[in-house]
């Protein structure tokens, strides 16, 4: 039984979805073209089955971590596992559908708040069609030490999936979120359009580890947006390695005075993957700070694209913003684009960016080979070194290890 307010929203979005064409042009979309993908070939996922066991989410994550709570969503859903002590403190971890019924006011307040009014095909498509999602709410002044794990998994093929995530940290709340998106079979052909919204109220602190490992046959569009309120802190670690044609739009909106955002990302392109990461750092309030570091590698015939924007509004004085994007091209047939942009309307700011595109250093390569490493090993070592400053900033040792292992045994 769908709530009338939600039903109305879905219908409005469905009309917009029908009206809008798949975007193919403009600076935002011209580098990753979904116009050539026949979206009709994907069957919508059937209604979510509550088939999975409790604890299924952590079984899919290739690392052992002690958790505060977990939930599997996507094709199958599991009942949430949540530390009863947290439940008592008012922490919510449920499917989004359930939250829409039982936490109507809270969900109504936040769901889609930062996305209203956007004329974007894929946002409308998700809004109209999301059938599986998670709601996580941490109440005021509640600090949760252990991480939450949310896993979105797909096993079917030729399906389209519309995940939706809503995370709210109320004033002074603290949490760590592990989000893992994965295909359980590497060869499935799917389309995923996910919308992920996070709201950090005054003084809240969130560490979000965001791992994406869809199959190499998956088409993905993702919109991920974090609103960072007054004196709130965000640390966001992103790892993109799956997908055939994937575009992730990530937005860090520094909405309240003193807000701080740190985004550390790693994009690994292999085979014929086409991966685009589009980052917006939006300074709305004064005294906000952002530090973005995205490192990417393009191997084989992969194409990797980074578009980064630091936008500083007039009111956002005394802002410090930095964005770095470094790319390693590992193969002659690989391709890398880097477009780090700045739009600054305030004067009392420090904004800068740096970008590099290059190959592994030849001198270093020679040095390692002279010590007996073969070309592949030497390159792997140098690539690992290239990524090390990303790994070094991942706060969870187990995740760090997993990311390292993945690099050594790609696709494993």
């Amino acid at each position: 039984m769908t709530q009338p307010w939600l039903q109305e929203r879905r219908e409005r979005a469905a009309r917009l979805n029908t009206k809008l064409p798949v975007p193919t042009g403009g600076e935002d979309w011209r580098r990753t073209n979904f116009g050539r993908v026949d979206l009709g070939q994907f069957e919508p996922l059937p209604p979510v089955k509550n088939g999975a066991d409790q604890g299924a989410a952590s079984r899919l994550l290739p690392a052992k971590i002690v958790l505060a709570g977990e939930l599997l969503y996507g094709e199958q859903a599991s009942p949430p596992t949540l530390d009863p002590a947290l439940l008592k403190q008012g922490v919510w971890l449920t499917s989004l559908t359930k939250a829409c019924e039982e936490k109507k006011e809270l969900v109504g307040k936040y769901l889609g708040r930062g996305l209203h009014g956007r004329q974007e095909k894929f946002l409308a498509q998700n809004e109209a069609n999301w059938q599986t999602g998670v709601f996580l709410y941490i109440p005021k002044n509640t600090a949760v030490e252990l991480p939450f794990l949310l896993t979105s998994a797909l096993a079917r093929e030729d399906s389209s999936c519309f995940p939706r995530l809503l995370v709210v940290l109320d004033q002074g709340a603290k949490a760590t979120l592990l989000h893992y998106s994965a295909s359980t079979n590497q060869n499935k052909n799917n389309f995923v359009n996910g919308v992920y919204e996070v709201y950090l109220e005054e003084g809240a602190e969130l560490t979000w580890i965001d791992l994406q490992n869809w199959s190499r046959q998956t088409y993905e569009v993702a919109h991920k947006r974090v609103e960072v309120g007054r004196n709130a802190r965000l640390k966001w670690v992103i790892h993109c390695q799956g997908g055939k044609l994937a575009k992730a739009n990530i937005e860090t909106v520094l909405n309240g005075e003193g807000a701080k955002g740190e985004v550390i990302g790693l994009v690994e392109g292999k085979d014929r993957q086409h991966l685009e990461l589009c980052s917006l750092t939006h300074h709305v309030a004064p005294h906000t700070t952002a530090d973005i570091l995205i490192k990417s590698t393009a191997d084989d015939r992969a194409k990797i694209i980074f578009q980064g924007m630091i936008k500083i509004e007039k009111a956002a004085q005394q802002t410090v913003s930095y964005m770095a994007n470094h790319n390693l091209v590992l193969n002659d047939k690989a391709h890398a684009d880097s477009i780090p942009r700045l739009e600054i309307e305030a004067d009392d700011v420090k904004a800068s960016h740096g970008a590099t595109i290059g190959q592994v250093d030849r001198e270093q390569m020679f040095y390692l080979r002279s010590k007996g490493l073969d070309k592949e090993k030497a390159e792997a070592l140098l690539v690992e070194g290239f990524y090390e400053d990303v790994f070094g900033r991942v706060p969870l040792e187990s995740v760090r290890e997993w990311m390292r292992t993945h690099l050594e045994h790609p696709g494993g």
């Binding site: 600076e27 193969n331 942009r341 600054i344 305030a346 004067d347 290059g358």
Partner: protein, 470 residues
């Protein structure tokens, strides 16, 4: 600390020094607006070969078909129907300044053009409205086979060589304004430097718009043959009017094997001029091409000098400085396109935004597949002087090759409080300190100008900053 009450005003003093106008006199003026009839009139007046007439008509069709660009600056107020596309100021071009009609000569005297020619130029040209009114190359260079003339004369006197290169570097369908220029071009400079000839003094052309609502569409083609060297400098100013003028030039440069060419622009249009210019160079084996591009004036400038590095060993340098003041938008930058391996390029951009001005750096670094051993370094620094101003950076890097080394850095900041305090503690007023820091900020580019221009540039900056207390 008291808020910075001193504002540096770009364009201050412009009106007296450059913004004057004299009574408009013309021997022919086309009607407002543009159609195929106007094209025929231009062609008739120029008595040019049929292929050029054809070229113009085709280009007009392209211009009409192409949509207005929606990126870059705001072009929504640009009204093509308001513009006079061809205005012939005098019957004949002067071979000496004495031959130039008195009023026009007075204008150039006031701007100091004949004087600089005497002092430090190898050759000099002057364009007034649509036509070149004067072009002179010193005998020394003429005798060594250098050709320096206006483009219309070149079409008459050196048709074969002009035809070989004309519109091969910037074809009419490149962009809307290149198409417009191709349709209505008039004047501009033509330069040919024969193999091995090194012209050690700058060649200068000065472009002046005098009448209201007039469009200037000079077409410049510069060829630096094998092992040759030259430096071309252009300057431009216009009267300050309340209605808009349009300047849409096309500049094509070819630098052949081992050649070395530098193109310097000091753009100082009045702030009612739309300045929409396409500048492109091709650099061949072991040659060096340098754009030094200073943008101080205009209402909106959209200009991205580009270098296509065609063969191994070619090197490209773009130095860009932009100052945007009140009601100004400088959308400037540069493009380097690496079509060959073993090529390198460097872009240095410095911009200053003040009094609500907006400066944008827009740049492209493109490396095609199989272009090994390419090095590119891009550095963009921007200063924002007050809270009403804006600065943007839009660098695009598209890399299709592994064996490359591409670096890009950009910073945007205001003048540091520490720097200001340090200079003031030595007795400099806040205004002097600001001005000194800004001069220092753009110094890496200004120092590349020939001394006379560096002095002029610094004077322009000073002029814009002085006496602006309260």
């Amino acid at each position: 600390m008291a808020p910075h009450k001193e504002q540096i005003e770009i364009g201050r003093g412009y009106k007296e020094k450059y913004g004057f106008h004299v009574e408009e006199k013309s021997v022919f003026k086309s009607k407002r607006g543009l159609d195929h009839g106007v094209i025929d009139q231009i062609s008739d007046h120029k008595n040019e070969p049929d292929w050029m007439r054809e070229f113009r008509h085709k280009a007009l069709d392209i211009f009409l078909a192409k949509p207005m660009p929606t990126w870059g600056g705001d072009l929504t107020h640009m009204n093509f129907d308001e513009i006079y596309y061809y205005l012939k100021p005098a019957e004949h071009k002067g071979d000496t300044w004495e031959d130039v009609p008195e009023e026009i000569k007075r204008t150039f005297d006031k701007l100091g053009i004949p004087e600089s020619e005497q002092k430090f130029l190898a050759g000099s040209g002057a364009q007034y409205e649509s036509e070149s009114v004067y072009h002179k190359l010193k005998d020394e260079w003429e005798s060594r086979g250098v050709i320096f003339s206006d483009t219309d004369s070149a079409l008459r006197e050196h048709e074969d060589i002009l035809k070989k290169y004309f519109a091969t570097i910037v074809p009419p369908n490149d962009n809307k304004f290149a198409a417009l220029n191709s349709a209505v071009w008039s004047g501009g400079s033509f330069l040919y430097v024969p193999p091995g000839v090194k012209v050690d003094l700058p060649l200068q052309a000065y472009f002046r718009i005098n009448a209201k609502n007039v469009g200037q569409f000079e077409r410049t083609l510069l060829i630096c043959d094998e092992g040759a060297q030259a430096h071309y400098v252009e300057g431009c100013t216009a009267p300050s009017y309340s209605t808009d003028s349009l300047h849409a030039a096309v500049v094509e440069v070819v630098v052949k094997q081992g050649g070395r060419f530098r193109y310097t622009t000091i753009q100082n249009w009045s702030s009612n001029v739309y300045n929409l210019v396409t500048k492109r160079a091709q650099a061949f084996k072991d040659s060096t091409m340098e754009w030094v591009d200073a943008n101080l004036g205009s209402k909106l400038t959209m200009k991205y000098p580009s270098i296509y590095l065609m063969e191994p060993g070619a090197r490209g340098d773009i130095l860009s400085v932009a100052c945007a003041g009140k009601n100004q938008h400088q959308d400037a930058g540069g493009k380097v396109v690496h079509v060959a391996p073993h090529t390198s390029s460097h872009i240095l951009s410095k911009s200053v935004s003040q009094n609500g001005g907006r400066s944008s750096y827009r740049g492209l670094v493109k490396v095609y597949p199989k272009c090994k051993d390419v090095k590119v370094n891009v550095c963009c620094d921007a200063l924002i002087m007050d809270k009403d101003s804006r600065s943007d950076t839009y660098p695009y890097m598209e890399i299709d090759e592994k064996n490359v080394n591409i670096g890009h850095e950009a910073t945007v900041s205001k003048i540091g409080d520490e720097q200001l305090f340090y200079l003031r503690s030595r007795g400099l007023s806040e205004e002097q300190a600001n001005s000194m820091i800004v001069s220092g900020f753009i110094e890496p580019i200004v120092k590349e100008l020939p001394m006379e221009y560096a002095v002029e540039m610094n004077r322009l900056i000073q002029l814009q900053m002085e006496g602006s207390v309260g």
